[in-house]
Point group: D2
Chain length 141, copies 4
């Protein structure tokens, strides 16, 4: 489990005086990039090897509003991994109170420069080793 | 069924040379606002009456990339309505080829200035009439 | 003179209940892309020829707030052109009242795939012809 | 002088494989909010006292591109202050190399809930004291 912390930015609010729902999807991405870096398989490494990891689907459930002046903690964990697919789970909490604000999932595949799906085990075995280890740790919880 | 048409903006692309996935959630909102206006229950009317309609959850499935230079058509329809809850379904297509790029749903409730859930039938009977009619039309398809 | 029209989107507002100042810079880009397309030298054509036109500087003066529910008209004109540099001037007005909300400028150069500055007259003579004509028209006003 | 550090986010890039120019204006805001907090006159305090500080104008000069994978340092300083007006100067540098990427200014006024300009010295004397001190320090450099 990795926790990514960041303040709410003024430009992320809307006239309802809370963070616009679309910005949480960007927060998921920030947290995912941080998670991969912290766990030894940085996203930049994927793209440097000519692989991209497009989002196949995203889901977010909004429980309570986040406001300017607050700092949020985003807990990220590997949700699932299968060499050709990877998914993450996120929980956004108010750092001060611990209140659960939003949770969600993102699902991704891996494609090469020709746009063809690839197996991470074949193209980046070290990344596959890390993702497999994280999945095992999650299943043993 | 309502169709909202708009070009892909340069600032909406990312280094993967396609529209960033978070922007489709903003496109859903543009399409939803257009849908409500075209069908006689504009979103501005809700907020003018002291009611806001926060997003409870969002789901998006990405099938193919949208790129700068393209124009997209976003088909919107009422998904469900129950006086205290409303949801919409969206399909994003490339205007030129008709290719399905992304589909999704957003789910909303209605709350008053005190932050309490309200029934649209009680607070805005004309809006309830329109939403109920749209639901009936959808169910009869 | 070209006029680009577009509604204010909800996600563009902030807790001050007006369009966040950073979004006007994105509106300038939308208007610039529209201007180039309407005048026969579309931005996509530049990039298709391996040329990009990065922004060297931007300036915006904010006179009055834009709000959700409004539609804005953005008047764009060529400000200056010299084969290696181009600049545009923008005026954002409320469509309903004509009130001047914001004006600004963007300044650009042209660079090739190697990142070297290029002369538009050399690499895309048709684009140079159109830009020169627009400059002449502006100077004769 | 205050330095605000933050990573480049993937969603901030565009198809030119660099941070979109509009996002630097948002970075200026993040840096300004951090500067005010670090120097004892947090922006949240202004708005809690019913005062908002809209942007009157913004200027940015772009020298070199920022890319995903980089971290930037944004140096912020008070540019000028006069009780009814305040301005800030920003310099965005690559943290790793120290390369100057972008510099700019933002100019602001103070208005109350009725939308009327106010003197910060009258409405928030402690904030006026801090801003005046920062101006004096800058002028003595």
């Amino acid at each position: 489990m990795t926790v990514y912390t960041r303040p709410v930015h003024y430009y992320e609010t809307d006239r309802m005086d809370c963070v616009h729902h679309s910005n949480y999807i960007r927060w998921f991405e920030e947290a995912r990039v941080y998670f991969m870096q912290e766990n030894g398989f940085p996203y930049e490494g994927l793209e440097a090897a000519g692989i991209v990891s497009p989002v196949l689907s995203v889901e977010a459930n909004y429980h309570a509003m986040c406001r300017f002046g607050e700092t949020v903690e985003i807990e990220v964990e590997l949700n699932d991994y299968s060499r050709t697919r990877i998914s993450f789970r996120y929980q956004v909490r108010d750092k001060k109170t611990g209140e659960n604000r939003c949770d969600g999932w993102t699902y991704h595949c891996f494609i090469n420069e020709a746009g063809r799906p690839v197996s991470l085990k074949k193209v980046m075995p070290e990344y596959d080793r890390i993702a497999s280890k994280l999945l095992k740790e999650k299943e043993e919880q």
